[in-house]
Amino acid sequence: MKHDPTFWLLARASGLTAYALLTASVLAGLVLKARPFGRALKPATVTDTHRFLAMLGLGMLVMHGVTLMLDQTVHMPLTGLFVPGSSPYRPAAVAAGVVGAELMLLIYVSFSLRKRIGTRNWRRLHWATYLVFGLATIHGFASGTDSTQPWARDLYLGAIAAVAFATAWRTLDRTPTPVRTATERST
């Protein structure tokens, strides 16, 4: 009987889509603070977009895991999806993806826990997003079977370049938002 490729195709597509959504969410997060479009883009809208893209990315990761388990190409056990290093297929490269995904979920959930963990800790944890992006890039490149394709290589290089560019913009363009205090205004 011929092997049905449906789940294998879905597993690859969902992995790449999750990576694209993660990249888009990171870019939206950087645009939120760098504000390259000035007042044209409401920060509230950008925040919602940033969180929505991250949520879609996590949804894609669920699909990535489920379809890998259902498919017979790499024989992924359930533990391989959650315990780093327990995948029979390319254990190190898959571990990067597992740790990255778990960290991404933690950062996503931390938004709702800001009151409990404190704003400062929430901000500190958010820096780990760069680690998530790095791990996702390594995972995608090293365990993805499409990595030898020119379009896949362009996707990874494009994502790295975009995140690096937006980070540089965010770091260099530090125009402080003027604060008007209540006393200044009361006349």
């Binding site: 509230a44 604060v179 205004r185």
Partner: protein, 65 residues
Amino acid sequence: MYRVTIDRSLCNGYGVCEALAPDVFELDNDGLAVLRSGVSEDEAVREACDNCPMGAITLVQVEAA
């Protein structure tokens, strides 16, 4: 009586505070919240604080002088 502060680095300009307590909060030219008044007796500021999507508003209850 509440003493109101806004963490502007957290504010993302949802404008919930301005909608709930327009006497105390408004959005400035950058679309971020500023205080019209640093103190208020209005319970609406409590509602604004509880409903800020970013949790950028802090209230301190003080005795009215």
